[in-house]
Every structure is written in structure tokens, then in C-alpha cells.
Symmetry: C2
């Protein structure tokens, strides 16, 4: 059996192999997506993001556990931080410490964002397609840290959950990072700690404007992921958002926007790859760099010259 | 007097305006670089990077203060972190807390990396050109946090200083982040704290391989930036590295590599801008996204179609 046949037969090893292919952006990517694409579009895509330490993994594990208990098939993509200094845990550790290991309805995959630049966002989108075609009912994308890449990834989702904790001025930081604008559902986790009620109030105030402009309630929920408190309500809020999207074609609009953005990123990646290939192989670039070094040309003049040569 | 005339007459306001132009990537960028480019290439470019909390700003301030006391003219570009969660201080605060405010030999400029993607690296390079043409003897680029952008920026420098502190397992993290490969000079700051001697030893061990392969000593220095201890030695090490580069044309080789890389980034930025412009204006993209949504086409097939249309 070919890899794709195994995949369509429900082989988890084949699923992993295909995700590795799209993650590594191998030449086979395009063929894989072409083969699976007709079987996609069914899964609910949930994104969850927020600062390190907010307890996102625990929330995801609880929520995924509940879904799995209802015989829902869940795929989790955990995107690890770009920088080892950003405070998140690392790949291996995160997978190891998850409570879901061994649950046959749940598939967990870590993807590292470091050095990936634009490519990670495209890769994550493709990994969602793979999980979707595999028959997962829910795909949860979890991003630690909130750089541009993380925002991009969160926006592949149909529903975005922003998770904060009462510690360390999270609400101000969330605003700065643009999280308040991308969230559909907000969670104050570690709600048994001091400052939780305050944070809920602050978030509610910040969300007033969005609530006025959109017919969605942007709920703010209090949870304690470690005990499971509030996780059922989170699940309900996510489902309600899903129903909301279903009305008036909102889901279609969102997904078309996602596809357009994905298209754009694929184009950018392709062009970057072309530039890179020429950069490494074209002897004229060395000569041009010499000319720029000798001030016979500015960097921009040299760039114009290269672009003109490409166009002709 | 035109802005450029004022700039060449030594007007600091004009300097700030030109840096704002290159930072915002305005249409005038290219003309500015063309006008100033012949007067560049004289300044020593120093990059300093490392995890948040290593005391880079304090080190830079001390070192810049010493240079200024010798009547050297210094320009500092402080690149602020991409993510508000990465632990660094913010723009306004960093400028405010600097001890150099009011020193007429020193010009300090913050540039924010958030959302800048590839553009920041190009902008920082151009800002260095502006400072260089203004007559600065030293240009110090300080980056907080260590994502890809920060690594790029550090590599615009002739000499890269990696600053760590004895806290929080910095040496392992520095290795993970690729800092051990880009540093020319290493600093263990806060050397009066516990673990400093250990960290120096670890760094020395890690650097053994590089020392064997390159005729440079990759010194590891212990400093206490708050008291100034070791800062003179850091200055000496940086100057020695500069002399080392001067021998056997190493500086020329490094700068040509930088220019080639800058050229590449300018090309990528140009192409990205073109993609972005078409993305927002081309009605065909919407139609294509619809086709992709309806599964009449994969995202990659649509991208191929767009590229083919561009080529013809």
C-alpha cells in the first residue's frame, strides 16, 4: 500500500509521515495536498493562543479529553515558540507532559516555529488539511508566545480562544500583542488565583466596542484547567461560536479569507525560494555585491538591476 | 536648506528624520540611500545580542560612554522585541532609562521589531548607513530577544558581542538560539552573581571548536555593567577583533557578505510588496479563492496559476 492509501485507511503512522512532509516543506507537499484536498473542510478548527504560562496546554488537554470522551476525533497541533528565550516549554517536554498520551481519539503533534519564517504558517495550514482529511472532527492549534507567526496561525482557525492568567499584567500585554482583536472567546485561566475577577472585568470592558460592532457576545470565561472547572462552559462557548459562524454564511466568509491569505503566503514562499536559489547559484550576484561594496552602485540600484534581468 | 543638506551639515533633527524615513520604508528610502551611500563604510559596526535581562543596554551605555569620553561619535540602534511577552522592556522605557541622554557625542534610536517581518532587517541596515554617512565613528546595534530578526540584525555588524548573565541557564539557551555561532566576543555580565565563573568555563568549552577552526580567540569576558567592571576589557576585545578583521581583508569579505544578504532581503521585500499590492487589488484573486474554497482547485494549483499569469 502506498503512503496515501495507508493514510486513507486510517493508519496513524501514515498520518504522521504526511505531516512531517508538509512540515519540512518537501517537494512532495503539493502532491499530498492535491490528493487530500477534496476530503477537507469538515473539521472544526480551533485556535488557542496567549502568553506563556497561561495554561493553554492544560486547557487544550481538558477540552480535547471531553471531546474524546464523546467519541470525537481530535487533532492537536502545538506550535512551539520561535525563541528559546520567550519562556515557553520545549517540544519534547510539552508532548511528554500531556495527559492525553495514549488516548486513541487524540493525535498530538508539535511543530517548532524557530527559524521557520513565513513557512510555518503555510505548513500549519497544510497540517490542518491533513488532519481534516484524516477524519478528525476537531483540530486544535495551540500557539505559545505571540509573535506575528503565532497570530497568523491562530487566524487559520474558525474560532480563536485567547487564554490569559491573572498574573503578570496579562491584559495589557494581550492588548499590545493584538490578541484582543483576534479572539472570539476569552478565558481567564487559573481563576482561583488573586486578580482573576479583576482581569475578567477588564477584559469585559475592553470587549465592549467589539460587542457593539458585531452580533457576537465575545464571552469571557473563568477556568481552572488543572481541576477542570469552567472547561465545560468553554466547550459550550466554542460550540456556540461555531453555530454563530454557521448562520449567514460567516464560516464560508472566514474560510475564504483564510484561503486567500494562504494563497498569498504560498506565493511569497515560492518567490522567496526562487530568490534564495538564484542567490546561491548566480555568479552575477557576487559581482554585483562587489560593485555595491566599491560604491559603484547602491544596494537598491543592484536590486533593480536584478529584478530587471529577471523580467526580461 | 533641504533635509539632506541639513543632514550633511550635521543637523541631528535631519538625522532623525532620515532614520524615520528608512524605518517606515517610505518611497523616499531609495533616494536617501543613493544620496548618502558614497559617504558610508567608515564606521565600526558593533552588534550586541543575548537574552532579555543580560544587561545589554547597561553594557552598551557604559561602552558608548567611554567612546564618547574619547570624543568618538557613537550611534546606537536599539531594536525592541517582537513580542511584548518576550520579557524585554519597551521602547519608551528603554530610551528613558539610558544614562547617555544629553551626551552630544551619542545618538540613540529605538526601532520596534513587532510586525516588521523581513522589513526590519533592511531598515536597520539602512539606518546604519544613515548614521555612518552622518559621521558616526561607532554604530552599536542592540537587539533584545533572539528570534530570526535579531540574528539577522546582529549579522549586519562587523563585530558581534553576545551578552549572557549567570541566571536562568543562559548558556544552554544561547546554544539553542544559535548565538554561540554568531558571536565574536562573549560577555558574562552580572559577573558578581553566583554561577558566573561556571558560565565562563562553559562558554570557553563550547568555543573550543571555533577557536581551533579560526585564527581568532573568541574571548569570554566577565563584566559588571552597573559598576563598569570589565567594560574597558570589553572595549579592548572589540578593538582587537576590529584589527583582526582589518588583516587579510576579512572586513571586506564580511561586508561583501552583508551586502549580498542585504541585496537578497531588498529583493524579497520588493517582491513581497508586489504580491501584497496585487493581493489587495486583483479581483482574480477573489475568484481564485472562491474556486479553492469550492475545491475546484488546491491552494498550490491556484498559486501556480497566479505565478504563470505574472510571468506572461
Amino acid at each position: 500500500m502506498s503512503l496515501l492509501e495507508k493514510f486513507f485507511a486510517g493508519d496513524v503512522q501514515a498520518l504522521s509521515s504526511l505531516i512531517t512532509e508538509v512540515e519540512s516543506r518537501s517537494d512532495g507537499c503539493q502532491a499530498i495536498v492535491a490528493a487530500i484536498y477534496p476530503r477537507t473542510g469538515r473539521a472544526c478548527k480551533l485556535g488557542i493562543t496567549g502568553p506563556p504560562g497561561a495554561g493553554k496546554s492544560s486547557l487544550v488537554d481538558r477540552f480535547a479529553g471531553e471531546l474524546a470522551a464523546e467519541s470525537r476525533r481530535v487533532g492537536i497541533i502545538a506550535v512551539d515558540p520561535t525563541s528559546p528565550f520567550s519562556g515557553g516549554a520545549f517540544l519534547g517536554d510539552r508532548v511528554r507532559m500531556r495527559s492525553l498520551a495514549g488516548n486513541e481519539n487524540v493525535y498530538i503533534r508539535s511543530m517548532a516555529s524557530r527559524g521557520a519564517q513565513g513557512g510555518l504558517s503555510v505548513a500549519t495550514f497544510d497540517a490542518c488539511l491533513v488532519l481534516d482529511a484524516f477524519g478528525k472532527d476537531w483540530i486544535i492549534m495551540e500557539t505559545v508566545g505571540v509573535g506575528q507567526i503565532e497570530l497568523d496561525v491562530a487566524q487559520h482557525a474558525d474560532t480563536v480562544v485567547v487564554a490569559l492568567s491573572p498574573e503578570s499584567g496579562d491584559s495589557i500585554q494581550a492588548s499590545k500583542a493584538g490578541l484582543m482583536e483576534i479572539g472570539d472567546v476569552f478565558v481567564v485561566n487559573k481563576a482561583d488565583r488573586e486578580g482573576a475577577t479583576n482581569l475578567v472585568t477588564q477584559l469585559n470592558m475592553t470587549l465592549e466596542v467589539r460587542r457593539k460592532n458585531e452580533p457576537w457576545s465575545y464571552p469571557v470565561l473563568a477556568t481552572v484547567a488543572t481541576t477542570g472547572q469552567g472547561v465545560a462552559e468553554l466547550g459550550q462557548a466554542v460550540r456556540r461560536h461555531r453555530e454563530f459562524l454557521g448562520r449567514h454564511d460567516r464560516l464560508a466568509v472566514r474560510r475564504k479569507t483564510q484561503l486567500k491569505s494562504q494563497l498569498r503566503k504560498i506565493l511569497e514562499d515560492r518567490i522567496r525560494a526562487t530568490v534564495s536559489r538564484r542567490f546561491h547559484s548566480d555568479p552575477d550576484w557576487d559581482k554585483l555585491a562587489d560593485r555595491v561594496y566599491l560604491k559603484q552602485e547602491t544596494p537598491y540600484g543592484a536590486a533593480d538591476r536584478i529584478l530587471a534581468a529577471w523580467r526580461s
